[in-house]
């Protein structure tokens, strides 16, 4: 069910500022792909353009072709909400809905889709929470507010909320950057598990993390501040971290730059 993502000459703007230019890359189904690179290189922008969250900001737009199983998601008669249901997203900071209970948070997406039956919702919530390795910790307090959980638990709650609607692809925008090391490990474990079912693309600043969790790694970089970000190298993670073919990648990996 997981789908393949293909980007062709993708360029993204914020108003007149060109954030990324000419990105070409293909993400295979049921893999974990890490996007790495220095701050401001446009990796998050690229990630957000994959589920059309980029255009939420005023003045932001995307040129080029982005396909999911050969269907262009930027086509004129494509429904944005359908794209986002198919391509879920986990954000940098855990963002559970503050007014909702844990249970309501998990099933929020299902409710939007018109699922009303309590039994269906309960089943789906349990499944999603189990997939997100959170069930045991929260099963006794599903009615409590989601904001009362720890940061790591909140982030796993957000992952549960994302996978509860059964997306094909899960995007993660530095999902561990606001978390402590133990919560980070929990989320990394989770990624291994989710890989069986979803295509996962993760932006990370942490190169060890990229090396640990991903199959493929894409390295983004910019020439100077103000220049658009470009894809420098895209290869198997093993190769990128052991024997990168571009000098710039090597400099970044070894910490000489960025």
């Amino acid at each position: 069910m997981a789908k393949r993502i293909e980007a062709m000459n993708v360029t993204a703007y914020y108003g007149s500022f060109k954030a990324i230019e000419d990105i070409n890359l293909t993400v295979e189904p049921k893999t974990v792909t890490a996007l790495i690179g220095p701050s401001g290189c446009g990796k998050s922008t690229f990630l957000r353009s994959i589920n059309r969250m980029h255009e939420v900001l005023p003045g932001a737009r995307v040129n080029g072709r982005l396909t999911i199983d050969d269907e262009d998601i930027y086509d004129r008669d494509v429904d944005v909400t359908a794209v986002r249901r198919m391509i879920g997203m986990v954000f940098q900071r855990p963002n559970p809905f503050p007014t909702m209970s844990i249970f309501d948070n998990v099933v929020a997406g299902l409710r939007l889709n018109g699922v009303r039956r309590k039994s269906v919702l309960e089943e789906a919530a349990e499944r999603a929470l189990k997939s997100a390795n959170l069930w045991d910790e929260v099963k006794d307090r599903l009615g409590k507010p989601g904001a009362g959980l720890s940061g790591g638990q909140q982030q796993r709650l957000c992952i549960a909320r994302t996978i509860a609607v059964e997306p094909q692809v899960v995007l993660m925008d530095e999902p561990c950057s606001a978390l402590d090391p133990i919560s980070t490990l929990a989320i990394e474990d989770l990624m291994f598990k989710l890989k069986d079912r979803y295509t996962i693309i993760i932006v990370t600043h942490n190169m060890q993390q990229a090396a640990r969790v991903s199959d493929r790694t894409a390295f983004f970089s910019i020439e100077r501040t103000g220049d658009p970000g470009r894809l420098i190298e895209y290869d198997d993670t093993q190769k990128i971290f052991s024997n990168p073919s571009v000098k710039k990648t090597e400099d970044y990996i070894t910490g000489r730059f960025g």
Binding site: T81, M86, N113, K193
Partner: protein, 362 residues
């Protein structure tokens, strides 16, 4: 956990989402609008149950219903709801613009009639019912003096109160004060007027006035102070809180005592914001009618002394002229209303521009 394909009923629509959907063409919305107007006109005029206003109202309802139905058929329920709510929200906005435009238009068109030099140079003294002249000079004097005195009373009190809340107040007592400042914001102006009536006019002023209650501009100032105080405290408090702690600490580190730090460093930093708050409070006070009506006594002649004898104010003048039987009174009421609104809006706009400039200046 590869139960995905058999996931029981989980989001049947989300299971295999269709990326492509049918869209309601832009022209369709226009078509629905035209159809709604035509249908509505036909219904209303055909049955003879109303006029243009009803046509418009009915057309809006028909348009919303038509939009929902069309979108529901073509795009599904979610989009239909989205569109209808969006249309409702936009129409709420248009609806709110109507009174705004109407008030402005009436005010300018009716107010301009008597807005001449004479209006600003004469009072209502010896102006009979058949006299088209008469002006608001005495009322303008009253407003300026009453609001001025009220400002003099309130600003020091309000600023000190805010300083207490922000700089010294700790624990329950400070919280209580803060809470009641907020509550005080909601005291009706007529109650403030009654308070000054009961306290100043009926109890204190007879002492200076041979046992008779003495209505005066100063009493109005007292009532306006009660109304201005919470506004000034709140805005000052907010501004003081924006002054960063390092600034205070930097000053303490220099050995400057706390009270001097507050007066010399904290207050000047917050000053533009405080001035903005004071101007907004002044604008609000200048427009108050009820308290002035109760305690200033009104009066047709010019009285420069706020501490003795009756005084009028612009707002009170509007009210009195509106209730006057003379056929020339409405024109005077509107001219005074226009003057009052101009005064209040100039103050308000100046205050907001000042606030904005400061925000950008930082």
């Amino acid at each position: 956990m590869s139960t995905l394909t058999t996931a029981p009923g989980a989001a049947a629509p989300g299971q295999r989402p269709q990326l492509r959907t049918r869209r309601l063409p832009t022209l369709a919305a226009l078509g629905i609008a035209v159809a709604a107007v035509v249908l509505s006109a036909a219904l209303v005029y055909g049955t003879g149950i109303g006029g243009t206003a009803l046509v418009v109202a009915l057309a809006v309802v028909l348009y919303l219903a038509g939009l929902y139905l069309a979108s529901n058929v073509v795009e599904g329920r979610r989009q239909a709801r989205n569109r209808t709510w969006s249309a409702l929200i936009h129409s709420a906005f248009v609806l709110a613009l109507l009174p705004l435009v109407s008030v402005t238009w009436t005010l300018v068109s009716k107010g301009a009639e008597r807005l001449d030099g004479n209006f600003f140079q004469t009072s209502m003294n010896n102006i009979g019912a058949r006299d088209p002249n008469g002006g608001a000079y005495h009322a303008i004097v009253g407003t300026l003096e009453q609001v001025g005195v009220a400002t003099l009373i309130t600003v020091p009190l309000g600023v000190l109160c805010a300083i207490y809340i922000v700089e010294y107040g700790r624990g329950r007592f400070a919280f209580t004060i803060r809470f009641f400042v907020d509550v005080m914001t909601g005291i009706p102006s007529i109650v403030a007027g009654l308070f000054v009536l009961a306290f100043w006019i009926l109890i204190i002023s007879p002492i200076f006035n041979n046992g008779r209650p003495g209505y005066s501009g100063f009493a109005a100032s007292l009532a306006l102070s009660v109304l201005m105080l919470p506004t000034i405290v709140r805005s000052t408090e907010e501004m003081l809180r924006l002054v960063p702690a390092p600034l205070r600490e930097g000053s303490y580190a220099l050995g400057i005592p706390k009270w001097k730090t507050i007066l010399r460093i904290v207050l000047p930093t917050a000053l533009p914001g405080i001035v903005t708050g004071v101007m907004l409070a002044v604008a609000r006070a200048a427009g108050e009618t009820a308290p002035v009506l109760l305690v200033a006594g009104g009066g047709a002649a010019i009285n420069f002394n706020p501490f003795e004898n009756n005084q009028s104010s612009l707002a009170l003048y509007v009210y009195q002229q509106a209730g006057d039987a003379s056929r020339y009174a409405p024109a005077r009421a509107w001219a005074a209303a226009l003057t009052l609104v101009a005064l209040v809006l100039i103050l308000t706009i100046a205050a907001k521009l000042l606030a904005r400039r400061n925000r950008f200046g930082r």
